[in-house]
């Protein structure tokens, strides 16, 4: 085994970009790094942070279906999360089940389904493990097209409905009185969250997605800035974490998802120190 090279010189700095998988990983990582905190901003402020985690578990069931049917797991993950997100929102509105209970049911239910499906497909394999914890090696060229295309759709929709989302997030009742179609926009938000979760799987992995949506936002919130500036700070934290995380995971042969999340946690810890008053 070669000793790990802890000194990154300019020559091996660019070595990274000689591997097409690494370039793809970076491209996918940056797209996700841009979208995740945008969605996360609304989820965190609406106390919906757990939805990201729930949808991530649902996506695992989707991935298992993909493996079983030999379809691209991202496609089946997208289908399962989007569908479940709409059902979760319906359940929440109907008030037949408490909001958190609806999430708990989906979280454990989809995990159960995933585990059963995995056992049907004769147990865990390396591919599946990559989906659990994320790895830049997982990103295939078609994945990159899907991530880029749907990422652009998510960003465009967030931009179009930005002011309605902000108003509903701050004060849903007043937003409704002012004539904003709150139900439709709530559904849109959760569907976009589902899409973002599915797209993030190859890079950060099922188990760590919510971190990328939540930690940069919570970090940015420590600075008590305007809504607009808070989004900018969250984006910077997220991009820094993704880029440094992917690079570090490449050079030191670490888990990509785990490294990204740990980098963002370090930034979060620093932000706590900066907190005013």
């Amino acid at each position: 085994m070669a000793t790990p090279n802890l000194f990154i010189t300019t020559t091996n700095m660019f070595e990274l970009f000689q591997y097409s998988f690494a370039v793809r990983g970076f491209e996918a990582g940056i797209i996700i790094g841009l979208i995740a905190p945008l969605i996360g901003m609304f989820l965190v402020l609406r106390r919906y942070s757990l939805i990201a985690d729930t949808l991530a578990h649902v996506s695992l069931a989707g991935i298992a279906i993909g493996f079983l049917l030999q379809i691209n797991p991202i496609v089946t993950a997208i289908a399962s999360t989007v569908l479940s997100s709409v059902v979760i929102e319906r359940l929440r509105i109907s008030r037949r089940v408490y909001g958190e209970s609806a999430l708990a049911i989906f979280l454990s239910g989809s995990l159960a389904l995933a585990v059963v499906l995995i056992s049907l497909a004769h147990g865990f394999n390396v591919g599946l493990l990559n989906y659990l914890f994320g790895s830049i090696v997982t990103v295939k060229q078609t994945d990159l097209y899907i991530i880029g295309g749907l990422g652009a759709v998510v960003a465009a929709l967030l931009f179009l409905f930005y002011k309605e989302l902000v108003y509903i997030t701050f004060d849903e009742e007043s937003a409704q009185v002012s004539g904003i179609p709150t139900r439709a926009i709530n559904t849109l938000l959760i569907v976009l969250a589902a899409l973002t979760v599915s797209l993030s799987i190859p890079i950060v992995g099922v188990l760590l997605i919510s971190a990328l949506m939540v930690i940069p936002v919570v970090t940015a919130l420590q600075f008590r800035q305007s809504f607009g500036k808070t989004i900018v700070v969250a984006e910077l934290v997220s991009l820094f974490s993704v880029i440094v995380g992917i690079a570090a995971s490449f050079y030191f042969n670490l888990s990509t998802g785990g490294t990204i999340v740990l980098v963002s946690l370090v930034l979060f810890a620093l932000s706590l120190g900066f907190r005013k008053r």
Binding site: K163, F170, V177, G179, R224
Partner: protein, 254 residues
Amino acid sequence: MSVDHSLNIIEVNKVSFAYKESLVLKEVSLNIHKGDYLGMIGPNGGGKTTLIKMMLGLLTPTSGTVKLFGQDIRTFKEWSRVGYVPQKVINFDVNFPATVFEVVAMGRYGKRGLFRSLTKEDRRVVQESLRQVEMWEFRDRIIGDLSGGQQQRAFIARALAGQPEVIFLDEPMAGVDAQAQDQFYQLLKKLNRDLELTLVFISHDIEAVVNEVTEIAFVNRTLSYDDDPKKFVKEEMKKLYGDSKFIHHHHKHV
């Protein structure tokens, strides 16, 4: 006065509301006219908030009809004519990352409509609304960093920014200290007189309401209405407590 006080802005006709099995409101009728400053009082659980929420389309009556500006509320679309100041000061997120300006700008969102961003004109109206409530110099402050009274003024500015004809206020004094309350009542009076805004005001503070409003409604499952608040309250209190205990008022120190 140039305001046509005979014009009905809101017509509530024999409205009942039941939550699960229990009747919250029973055949309530009420007309609110242009330029009214209506105070709505009554015990907790008496149905004040339920009634307001039905007038705002947030709740649907079990029976009866509500008309806003002559139109049935179920088909009403001109929501920018209605402003709303919710019971926010006590239950909004003080860590929410929004400046006073951003909060007040939300008042323009419904008017602007989907897919459109705010224009220069919107910003001008936001500025004007902030000046109206004397909060312009606080525009860049985070809303959660302000005092209860300042936050409440910002929420009024948000309602004003929509340039409504009527503003509903649900317990706006909750969490606001006594001095700020006085300022707040002066502001409401100014809005009612100078801007000819119709105000519908829920409060549990009977004494204060009686001295401020021009019409009063007492809501406790049913509704009684009068356009002489002082006389009305005297009589209602007599019915409730007998002659000996006239208005008894506790100042809550928060």
